[in-house]
Structures are given as C-alpha cells and as structure tokens.
Symmetry: C2
Subunit: 509 residues, 2 copies
C-alpha cells in the first residue's frame, strides 16, 4: 500500500457516487440479497464458527485502486462476511437480548439513510426534530408514562443511540445540578447507586463523568429477593455514605435486569431516593417495551417519582439498531449540561427558543433521523400488533419454561417476568447424587451447565448466552427474534436435551 | 390516547414483522422512492421552508391501533416529511459541511441494518470486528498515517459515531492516565486546550468528562495567522497555567476548522505538547479525507507526535451518517478507561486477549456493523475515484473562489485550503463609501452579509451557512454534496449575485 501513490496518475473510469439509476439498480439487488438472507436465516449456524483472524487471511492487504462491481462485492459478502456473522436475526437466536429487526424499521432506516440529513438542530431539518417529538410522545402515551415525561407535560423524549448514552447524559445532568449547589470541588464526594445486577453501562457512565470509582455502589442482591435491589439496602448504603461525608447523587433502577430480567421495585426505591435528593433513572432497556401491554404496566408503578426512563426500541420493539428511547422530566437540566451554542450553529428558529434542538439533549452534535424508523414501526404494525408480537414471545417463553420444568434434570432459577427463561442443570438433580456437599453439587451443576451451553452454541443449531447470579451459572434463553415461532422454541429445547444427553453418555456423572 | 387500552381486545390482522416476501415487496418500493428522490433532489427548496410546529398539525395525536399500508405511509413521507427536510443531498447544498452520501455507503448501511448484529465484542459477530480492523488499517494506509496508529503497528482504529464521541473517549483516557499518576483528587486541576476556532465538541467533551469548565482554554487566533492556533500562544497559556498550579492535560488541534477550514500547525503544536506531557488529538472531521490525496497530505505533517487522529467519513468521504474514523497510538489507554467485563459478556475468545472487543474502545456497548459501509465505499469506487471525487470538489470550490474574487463587492476572507470558500460583502467595497470609520464599514458589511445569506437560504435555490471569525460575519460555501456539479456552483454564484442586487435595488446604501 506504501506504493499506492504511485498509481495516482492512473486513469480510472469516472463514476457518479449518487447516480439515481445506478442507485436503483444496485438497491434492488441488495433488497433481494437481504430478502434471501431472511428466507434462509434458519440455515446458517447461529453462532459464527470462524476462528479469530479468519478475515485478514481472506481479504487483500489494502484498498483497491480501481472500482469493483457490486456483484463481486456481494459474492464476497456471502462467502466471507456471512460466515463471520452471529445471526441475531435467526429464528434460533435466543442469546443476550433480542435484536428484533423488522421490515418497517428497515424501511425507516433506509429513508433516514437516503435523506442523510444531519439533524443537530431544528433548522437543519425540521421534520427530523418534530417527528421525534411526536413519536416520543406517542410511545410515552402507549407506555402510559406520567404526563410530566412528555412534551405535552413539559418533559420530553429523545432518541439516543443506546442506554449507555442515555445514562451518561442523565447522570451528567444530575452531577451538574448538584455541583452547581455544592461547588465543583466536591465532585470526588458524589456517589452513584445501582445493584450488582445493574447493567455495566452505569458504572462506565459514572466513570466517564468523572465520578470517583470508589464511590460507585453495586448493592448486593440475593436469590431470596429474586435479585431485585431492596429499598432497605439502598437506604442503609446511603446512610453509611452520608456518615462518611459523601454525597448521594444518582440511582439507576432496572426493569428487566441483564442477568435474569429481575425488576427493581420502583415505588420504594424512588421514595428512598426522594428522601435523600437522589436523581433516579429507570433503565428498562429490554423489558420497557412490554409495558405497552396493560398486563405488564404495573412494573412501572412508582415511575412518577423517577427523573428519567429509557428503553431500547432496538432490543424488543422491532426497531433495528440503534434506537434508545429516553424520556426526562426536566429537559432544561439536560440542556444546561449538554448544550453548546457556537456561532456557526446560530439561527433564528433556535433564538426564539420555540424549537427543540436535540444536540442539547445528547452527547453528540450530529444525529441521524432515527424517528423515521420508529414512526414506520408504529404505523406499519399498529399498537395492536405490537402488543400481540410481544405477547407471542412471552407465550413462547412460558412454553419453554414448562418444558424446562418438565425435565427434572433442570431447574428454572428465577421468576420469568417477560420473555426470558433462566435455567440450569439442577444442583438437586439425581445427576449429582454422589456429591454429599451442597456447595459441591452447585459447583458441579454450574460446570455442567457451562459445558452444556458451549455445546449448544458450538452446534450452531441454537444460540443462548449465560449469566452468573447468586453463585449460579445460568443459561439465558431470551425469546424475541422476529422470525422465531413456536416450532423454533420447541426445537431449541430438543437441542438442549440432546446436548445434555450427549454429555451424560460420553461422561456419566 | 388515554383510551388506547380500551382497544386491547380488538382483533387485528396478524402480521409477520420480518416476512421475507413482504420485505422484498416493500424494499423494492422504497428503493424506487429514494431513487426518485435523488433524481428530483434539485427540485426541492434546499432549506426547508416550514414553520416551527408544522408537523404536529398534520399528524394524528396518537399512534394508530391498526396497521397501515406502506403505500399510505410513503404518501405521508412525500407530503409531510419531505417538505420538512433540509435537503443535504441536494446538489445546491453548500451549508455547514457536506453530508456526502453515496450509493455504495447506502448499500453498506442496508446490509448492516439487515444483518442487524450487535457487535459489542468479537464473538457477538466476528466479521463486524475483523472487517473494522481491516478497513481502518486500509484507510490509515491511504492517509499515510504513521504505522504506530495502525493495528499492524500496535495502534489501531475504531469507527465511532461522531467526532464528539472520539474526543470524549480519547480525553477520558488521557484524564485517567494522568489521574492514575497524580491522584484523582486533582481532577479539578486538569486543563484542556483548543483554539477559539476548535469545534464545540471539545468543550462539551471536557465538560462531560468532569473537567472544570474554568480550566477549558479556547486560545485566541487572529486573521494575521489565518485563524490557526499558534504554538507560541499555546506555550504561553500552558506556562501560565502551570504557574497557577494547574496541570495541562489535553490539546485538540484541528485540520480544517469549522469556521473557515483553517489548519493548525501540527508540528510545532505537538512539540510544545510533548514538552509538557500533554496528549494531542487531531480533529480532521471535515478535511481529513482530503489527505488521501498526496497534494494534501502535508497538512498532516507532524502527526507522528500526536496521540490520536479522527475524521468523519460521513462528512466528505461519501459514507452516509454516521461514521467517524478514529485511530489511536495506545489502544490500551483507551481500554483501561472504557472497558467493562461483566460476566454476561465473558467468552473464550475475549479471555484469550487475542481478539479486539470494540466495546472497550467507545462509550456505548451496543454498536452497529458500520465497517460494511466503509468497505463498500472503498471497493465500489476504489482509491482512484475517491481521490478524483475529492479533487473535483476542490476544483469547483476554486472556481467559486475565482467568481467571488471577480466581483469587487465581495471579498474572500481566508485562504481556501480545501473545498470551502468563506466570503463576505467586502467592507472596503464602494458600497460602504459613505462610512468614514473602518469599524463602521465592517459592521455594515457584516449586516449586509447576514441579510444576504438569509435571502439566499429563504430563496430555496441554494443553501449556505455562516461563521463569525475575527469579528467578520462570513458566508461558508462548502462544496461536497455528492450530486453537485460545476453548473450548480455557477448557479449558486448567480443566486448570490442576484440576491445582493435585489438587496441593493430595494435599499441602496
């Protein structure tokens, strides 16, 4: 490649980068390519089976000097990229949390990519801002959020990329609100609270925002309280911090934790927080969407005393990555921390203060027109279907749970609140009857579960992931991929059983 | 909408959110829709002409309960969204910096959206990580970056969303490197440096990272030094800060400032910074791509002494939003600040430490497969065409500059380094011959330039933006939209002249 500049005077055939007829031709090719991918999604091994470094061996050492036709590129995608993909859109994908794409969201993303506007403020593309205002109010109402979180109630919603950004923004705003009162020199005294089940995004956000890492509290949870954060434990921790001269700042409560989809009790947690002037963010990244169904809405009871709430439409709301919906009660606190007003962005509309400039609601200046994909999802499916999609996943998870319970070699390790089942090889199973010690049984059953999971994923027939909670190694089976049907869940259960059988027959315990 | 839950038992026609044949049908519709949009891009008023609040009046108050057909949605996009868009893809768009989309990048984004993988670590989709490693090395070599910035030289590149994130990440890493040495309690002493021309992203990143706002230095530049940051001024500021007991931390130097595309002199700035142990980030958001052309590469001379470098492929590199390419010399410093290792993400590949886990290179955990679009851009056009695209924009800007210089009523206010011309109604023009005072002439010419810009943008025939540098209100004319041809530049100049003529004839000075 050092020799690339040698070619600088070589003639190349002129190309227009945005010729509409070539766009049309190539666009149709890709649509068919992706449609075929979905049609065949089931056929690929779900977890990629490549070895580290596989791709360098297959691709050239430097960028081509001359253009290559789209047909050749697509062949390479098929031959070299697809094998390196873990197929999150496969109907047999049950790992982590779902990345539930949909046709509607895909189309919305295409429109957004096509218009390619940089909607940092209102004037840079009024529709991008206004559609976001509108769909965030729509979804806020679908979730029955308190009016104070909506634009119509002087709060407001914004689409962030991910929960990590949502937390960093709300935490920074909370930090500045308190530092304005107590003085910046006290930044080293601020304390951030979560549980040992809270997503690592909280700790990372606190770190980035300059909170002293030793002032980050991951309060212990336990199996007896279903791994939820207890208000009593929070209060005790706060008291102890105050006694030590520290200043409680921020709590992140979770609806649907990453490990086992536990639900922190908002009502008492918000009450305790309020008492100590702590700002509360509710992270419902995975499970928030389910709360559009009346039967799940009770999990948000108590939200009226929180300061902000977010969920990832790109997880379990049929909206392709990335799309995190964040609502705040106090946009001006966010804006005070995050606004910038360089001359080159000044304009009459912003000067009137009558428009929303979303650059002041987020970390970045440039922002994509993400509202389009949410709008297309809401309109293409309608609220009725969206509730039905979510319910069908919950129903499938329930069925899987029954299947697990019907096999005495397994146990379900925590209550199933949504569409995720956490299970393991049971420590009390007869498989471990030769162990006398309970700890030893748990250890063996953990090892067995880990081996089982690796075998399942290596088979390529289904993909699941794991967590360790309360000393238990558990398999997380999250239903939510858009192509998943009942038969895939039943099939996945067979894969689990077959692999345990294979382990037992090759190495009887 | 409060009544939405009334409908919960209404039956809705079942829909599959990712049916491949429906995906195909609707996908083809949208491709034609967007191809037609590009074909007609020229016909729309460039800057949107809607009034604040226009969209709420046109859309329903709540999300629909029942699905709506894509044909109806597309009609609404045409009727209600397109009028609210400022057409960054229009050939007559010259505002801010370009958002130069391309067919190749669009296709790459479609593939990425279609696969919809969440590539936080290697195992979650090895191809996403490995292709990013590869294309970042490719582009690094195209830019002739020092080997120390490439994976092949123990540095490495990562695709961030925007420069704001790139700066926040590198600044956080620098902060932690120094705090580990001097103790966290000294966070209030850290100082961040830029010039009064540095993008506001630096100040915002410093603020988020907990740097005391009073320790942010926007060092003055002046017309005499073409609005570049001088190494002498930097050194004096640093010395004065050290005398005050403060600790210099971080410098952001810019290649192609937002205001007038000034180029800070890297060599002396890096030397001064090195002397004081300051980390240097180079923000080449707009102009970095041009440095793939040998005739522009000299602007990066001195980069070997910097710590990190970024440019936005979504600005002037034919890659749809968002795509910021960041290279760092010391990935482990970045990883030390940004890594998280929750059990639920543990896996054998990461445990070997032989793979890159990009979650540890950025703020967010979830990340899209952005490398696909860069890969498609590089392959579909080839390095030769990419250089030619950039040169054709520079050539058009040169032509525009000549046109401005040929009309004595205007002046070009700063050297044109790339594809942007900054001009204004000349204070020394005979238009202001009745003013005796030079300041008064400048003031009048500023007002006239502002009025002119507003008239141009209100006409819808071309879109430009502004900056204020050294007390001068200037119009920024940035060539770079992918559809722009010579005729559009000539046409835009006519729009400028016609509007000045109209101002003069209605209100002779």
């Amino acid at each position: 490649m050092g020799s690339l500049h040698e070619f600088e005077n070589k003639s190349v055939s002129p190309i227009k980068p945005l010729d509409s007829e070539e766009f049309r031709r190539q666009g149709h090719l890709i649509i068919d390519f992706i449609a075929d991918y979905y049609k065949n999604a089931e056929k690929y091994p779900v977890r990629s089976q490549v070895e580290p470094g596989y791709l360098r061996k297959r691709l050239p050492e430097s960028a081509p000097y001359n253009p290559e036709p789209i047909e050749a590129i697509l062949r390479d995608v098929e031959q070299h990229i697809v094998p390196g993909i873990t197929h999150w859109q496969s109907p047999n994908y049950f790992a982590y949390f779902p990345s539930s794409g949909s046709t509607a969201a895909f189309l919305g993303e295409m429109l957004s990519t096509g218009f390619n506007v940089v909607g940092f403020n209102w004037i840079s593309s009024p529709a991008a801002t206004e559609l976001e205002n509108i769909v965030m109010d729509w979804i806020g109402e679908m979730l029955n959020l308190p009016k104070s979180f909506l634009f119509s109630g002087n709060g407001g919603g914004v689409i962030q990329g991910t929960t990590c950004e949502a937390i960093l923004c709300t935490l920074t705003a909370a930090r500045d609100q308190i530092l304005r009162k107590i003085g910046r020199e006290n930044i080293g005294k601020l304390v951030v609270y979560g549980s040992d089940q809270t997503h690592c995004a909280l700790q990372k956000a606190a770190h980035i925002a300059g909170i002293d890492p030793k002032n980050f509290r991951a309060i212990m949870t336990s199996k007896s309280s279903s791994f939820c954060l207890s208000a009593e434990a929070l209060q005790e921790t706060i008291k102890s911090d105050i006694e030590d001269g520290l200043i409680p700042l921020f709590l992140c409560a979770t609806i649907g934790t990453t490990g086992i989809a536990a639900v922190d009790p908002l009502q008492p947690l918000c009450e305790v927080s309020k008492r100590y002037g702590i700002r509360v963010h509710i992270d419902a990244a995975y499970a928030g969407s389910a709360c559009i169904c009346p039967e799940f809405r009770h999990f948000l009871d108590g939200i009226e005393n929180a300061d902000s709430f977010s969920f990832n439409a790109h997880k379990w709301f049929f909206t392709n990555l990335d799309c995190c919906c964040l609502w705040v009660k106090n946009p001006s606190a966010l804006n005070q921390s995050l606004s910038t007003n360089p001359e080159y962005l000044r304009n009459k509309a912003s000067d009137t203060k009558k428009v929303v400039d979303y650059k002041d609601w987020q970390i970045t200046l440039s922002r994509r027109f993400r509202a389009l994909k949410l709008w297309l999802v809401l309109r293409s499916y309608g609220v009725g279907n969206l509730m039905n999609f979510l319910r069908s996943h919950v129903k499938m998870a329930k069925h899987f749970e029954e299947l697990v319970r019907s096999d005495k070699r397994f146990e379900v390790v925590a209550p199933r609140n949504f569409s995720m089942v956490c299970f393991k090889v049971s420590a009390s199973s007869t498989l471990f009857k030769h162990e006398n010690d309970d700890n030893e049984k748990q250890k063996k059953s953990n090892e067995e579960t880990e081996t089982l999971l690796e075998k399942i994923n290596a088979s390529g027939k289904a993909c699941m992931s794991h967590a360790i909670v309360g000393g238990m190694y558990v398999i997380r089976f999250a239903v939510g991929a858009s192509l998943t049907e009942e038969k895939h869940v039943v099939g996945a259960w067979k894969v689990v059983q077959q692999n345990l059988n294979a382990i037992l027959s090759s190495n009887p315990m």
